[in-house]
Point group: C2
């Protein structure tokens, strides 16, 4: 099936139907984070650095980097943030902006093959972003809305996604370099939001054979116990064929849901990753010789064969 | 779509594709519970009573009752347990035994329309259990194995389920009174166990149009953090069309997964049930006048409209 390969200077990550789900950390984004926005504008990237490290440590295989700060020099700030994040982590990045000049500034400094977030089905956006993707040999998130807005009908959204894929092909960009975002709406407002997305994910997998991502946390907007809703959504969406999401790995419920879904999909052979992560430590006073559950280094435990 | 109606003397529960998922509490089962087995054999049903109340309180809409104790008079004990549970709760029951005489003893004392657990595709079992189902007007769990055992091929299991459904029709039992158990194997031993079940659930829903249940906790046998695995399985299985499960509602993760999955499926209108369950209490010292989050009675909170 389709493999989307992203890379940093030294590390490759593959998004694909037969592979573990890819968590793209969402935290480096000043939208709604006033302190972060002020710091980034002032050239202080200490919080960006901390967010990058923490998300990778928590399980993000990629990081989204956004510098959308009103009235700021977004291209310059985004480029700087990307350089900084690439200097301290080796995960591939998603370069996230609504401003095409900022995407290009990010691409110009990026080392490796980036995921560009995003292009829509809007004519002007298509014709400004797709040439950049081709020029830099990047991959791109394709959001399934267009000039008419976001349809509640998943079949209409499918047609938009299909049009973007075909237009990308015209620009010489293969299907494997497109990651479709089916658009996740708050389920507290639209009760059929998840059902719509599941249907769309299924069609995107079986008909367009294209990888997918989404801003998963949107689903729980306005509801209590958001992590429970996010976990339910991620699990069910993975079951429907979603292959990555831009979400928050700092919530343990989210990471646990993804690891559990990977077990369900048969993408965690012998449940080795699950066992490594959740095996209980030996009772206090147990003999250390057997080595079961003993810590190796700071965080990892030694894997054991599954039952 | 297919509705399976179960009842006690005073309450009806419907298992169906367009309805909230039904949790059938698994706890009243002496298998692997030595103390409970000894007590039930000695005529002490205090633990059965406590388990019944606790599971209903925790969110079970039905209860499974099993009295499988080696060398004990299972028909008599099962009948007594059923009478006791029906005297203290109003939820419909699943009468669970591998001994046909015990099923009949349970059916003879049961008030309402019971779910009988279970019939298999084995010839002898079919011809002894199905007449009972017809005689008492009950519904039945149909387990998708036969004389040849449990196939790892979901399509073979589908054929077994289909054969049971057709045989039931021969006995005058409608499809709506059959609830198929696709058989859940431990994923620590069989990595494709969940993928197999998802495929089978999809076929059972779309082709046989039959409701489904399973012993959900089997999936996590032998693994650490079983509730996380159980939650992932239930969520994904509900997404694939499973409509009930015999599981443990005393684990909050299990109930949260089911409630979250119901939200995803659009089976919790306006997310009212989710909000009622998880709404945070107002901060200490907040004015009580608005009434948001105030407790009413012991457990319930006042519902509010969704966002």
């Amino acid at each position: 099936m389709t493999d989307t390969v992203l890379s940093s200077a030294t590390r490759e990550v593959v998004i694909g139907f037969d592979r573990p789900f890819v968590i793209i950390g969402e935290r480096i984004n000043p939208t709604g984070r006033k302190i972060l926005a002020a710091e980034m504008s002032a050239g202080d990237f200490s919080r960006v650095e901390a967010d990058a490290r923490a998300q990778v440590e928590a399980g993000a295989q990629m990081l989204d980097v956004n510098a959308g700060i009103p009235l700021a020099d977004e291209p310059a700030i985004l480029a700087k943030a990307i350089q900084l994040v690439q200097s301290i982590t080796d995960v591939p990045l998603s370069i996230d902006s609504s401003i095409v000049a900022a995407l290009e500034a990010g691409l110009a400094v990026y080392k490796g093959k980036a995921l560009v977030n995003s292009v829509t089905g809007e004519e002007e956006r298509l014709e400004s972003v797709l040439p950049l993707i081709k020029k830099y040999g990047a991959a791109v998130v394709a959001i399934s809305n267009d000039e008419t807005g976001i349809s509640e009908d998943p079949d209409v959204r499918f047609e938009v996604a299909k049009r973007i894929v075909h237009r990308a092909l015209d620009h010489g960009i293969p299907v494997s370099d497109i990651v479709v975002d089916p658009l996740v709406m708050p389920i507290g407002a639209i009760n059929r939001a998840a059902v719509q997305v599941m249907r769309l994910l299924h069609r995107l997998k079986t008909e367009l054979k294209v990888n997918t991502t989404c801003g998963a946390s949107n689903i729980s907007f306005g509801l209590p116990r958001r992590n429970g809703i996010n976990a339910a959504f991620l699990t069910m969406a993975i079951g429907s064929g979603m292959t990555s999401a831009i979400t928050n790995p700092l919530h343990p419920e989210v990471v646990e849901a993804v690891l559990g879904a990977d077990v369900m999909m048969g993408h965690d052979p012998d449940c080795a990753r699950w066992i490594r992560k959740f095996r209980e430590p030996p009772p206090t006073g147990a003999a250390g010789e057997a080595g079961r559950g003993r810590r190796e280094g700071g965080h990892r435990r030694r894997p054991t064969p599954a039952v």
